[in-house]
Point group: C3
Chain length 263, copies 3
């Protein structure tokens, strides 16, 4: 099985499918081809969340603003999974989550360099470098394309939130397609306050178990499917109602008398 993820939109991913199918009978499964454009951090977040649900596979990942420069092409072995893509950090968070999902140390992955050869283009290594490498790894194993350990790979880590008994200080990681604001604050923070009101950046907000536990148009705080605190609007867009964008600060106070008084 080979999964495909990119920010290419359409129809470029089809060229990658053609290259793969010319070289392998592997099942192809699309993750997404509308990952936020050239946004390595957002891509890494989504792949970290989604790839661990898959059985062992080769994961072809191309969000590659540095295509055509000297950034390396890498293959990352994470237990029974292999990730293939550019060395810009995007493969590392999913490599860690795949290791954890398989009961390994999160740092138990190995990074190797891929020899890109003489690619047919300087602008589409998804087609000319990464898809051929993914097919070769699927057919012959990772050593076929990447037998040279690569030490100087680019790391990417998401900032941790500061949490305490009374609340948390964190930030927005990504906005999803519904407009839900996904933070780095662990959802466990809300245990014990569901059905009550908390303070989000100074505003009183109901903490609820899911979107439908409020009226359409209401701002809510809930726990998204990734397990983090999510700021949303029932049947609406949280990013607009909260006026938040990735990187913005989010302060949660579980019991804020002042905010409550302002309700």
């Amino acid at each position: 099985m080979i999964t495909l993820a990119s920010d290419f939109g359409s129809p470029y991913p089809a060229a990658m499918r053609g290259v793969l199918l010319s070289r392998t009978d592997a099942r192809l499964v699309d993750i997404a081809h509308d990952l936020p454009r050239q946004d390595v951090r957002a891509g890494a977040f989504w792949l970290r969340e989604v790839l661990p649900w898959f059985p062992p596979a080769v994961h072809l990942v191309v969000v590659d603003p540095g295509v055509g420069t000297d950034r390396a092409a890498i293959a990352v072995r994470a237990g029974e999974h292999v990730l293939i893509g550019p060395d810009n950090g995007i493969l590392i968070p999913p490599a860690r989550s795949l290791c954890e999902r398989q009961g390994q140390e999160s740092e138990g992955f190995e990074v190797c360099a891929i020899d890109p050869g003489e690619p047919a283009s300087s602008t589409f290594h998804g087609r000319d470098v990464f898809a051929p490498a993914a097919a070769a790894v699927h057919e012959q194993g990772i050593d076929a394309v990447a037998n040279r350990p690569f030490k100087s790979w680019t790391d990417l880590r998401f900032p941790a939130a500061h949490t305490g008994a009374d609340g948390a200080q964190g930030e927005v990681l990504v906005i999803d397609g519904f407009g839900n604001v996904i933070t780095n604050i662990p959802g466990e923070l809300l245990n014990g306050v569901f059905g009550g009101t908390i303070s989000i950046n100074g505003d009183p907000i109901p903490a609820v178990k899911s979107y439908a536990h409020a009226q359409p148009g209401d701002r809510i705080a809930t726990v998204g499917s990734h397990g983090n605190l999510e700021l949303a609007v029932t049947q609406g867009r949280g990013d607009e109602a909260y006026d938040l964008t990735p990187g913005d600060s989010v302060e949660v106070i579980l019991r804020d008398e002042d905010a409550m008084a302002r309700r």
Copy 2:
């Protein structure tokens, strides 16, 4: 074969694919993941139209504004097909059309409740409840997850148009991606008037066999691929030119002397 339909956009459907592929080798086929957001009625319409073209399959359907509430999870047996999704009505119109397509009574479907267990999230039952149920039904049959008849399921019916020899009174069901306005008025109404002019909400409109039988920009009335009267603009958007939205009334008069005089 398992088909997938949702309003999730991207990349959430990939998590459902991963869960399915961890549990079954079934062929996966996407119906659509951009069904109108949280719009049970529009989703039911499209599934009613599309699913009967498929061979026997398990159909995983997740448009689920009530996720995390006590709305039931159901499996619907419609001949050799099984539909899996939330009990909000969305499965019922396609269940009826699947029964009819197989030469059965439209009411010949059976509804069973699925035990949701303890889902990992309150916000993504597509991944945590419905995908595992679809995989289990594919591998072991419907009794594996739903052996308990469920009587109090939620029905959903589309309003019927009133038709006569002189015209019809109906309403807009959905707008498609081209902006075509799909009504509930049977297309047979136009038999005998193709090439002529009819009245739509008081305006004179040519009745044509297909879009190209008019000039780009012209408003037309035709019969869509679903068999219903469709209000369109050749190489344009019917919804904007007609200023119509789902639920709006549509009055057709086949021969309206007044409207004709105003041409």
Copy 3:
């Protein structure tokens, strides 16, 4: 293997998948379903670029503004590939590129007419004519549906650019989803000037090997993955910055003293 390409958006392609899967176990591979709406020329360009990457397959192509008129339905044999779709020119550029890719003369393709029978609709021949034909060709070969040569097929050719030692005069073929402006000027023109500045429609523009060889927001000239001159903006949209649209003229002067003086 059957590939599917259309301008249908969603969910209409799912009906084609259902029809195909009711008649064949072929692997289905999506090329794109968001080809520019009713734009035969843009569709032909993308298929010309993408289909040659595939192994032998039946290619179902439906961009069909003339659906329901007397335009013919055709099957085009291009070596081991077969293209199925409407006779509006869209199949011809990919037929030529498929022939070339297989080491044949570009004109070595054959065009046959498909008997459309009595289609169930006048508005969706993708479902009612072309998908059944594609399934039949996959299962039984092209003679099953199209054994009658068709001489009067519609040709489509892209204009050639005029190139010389000092520059080129060409035009915009299409805009891709990133906003990159794809011209008909061969990319070889830039050999020897990478790293320097050229004149594009009178403006001085750096010629670079790939997007990241300039700063975010910079206008650049580069060679796209199709091998043609592409006008882009690093991490931005070239179509907006250059104010260019398909059909517009593009003049390149490799060494323009006047433009350089205006830098």
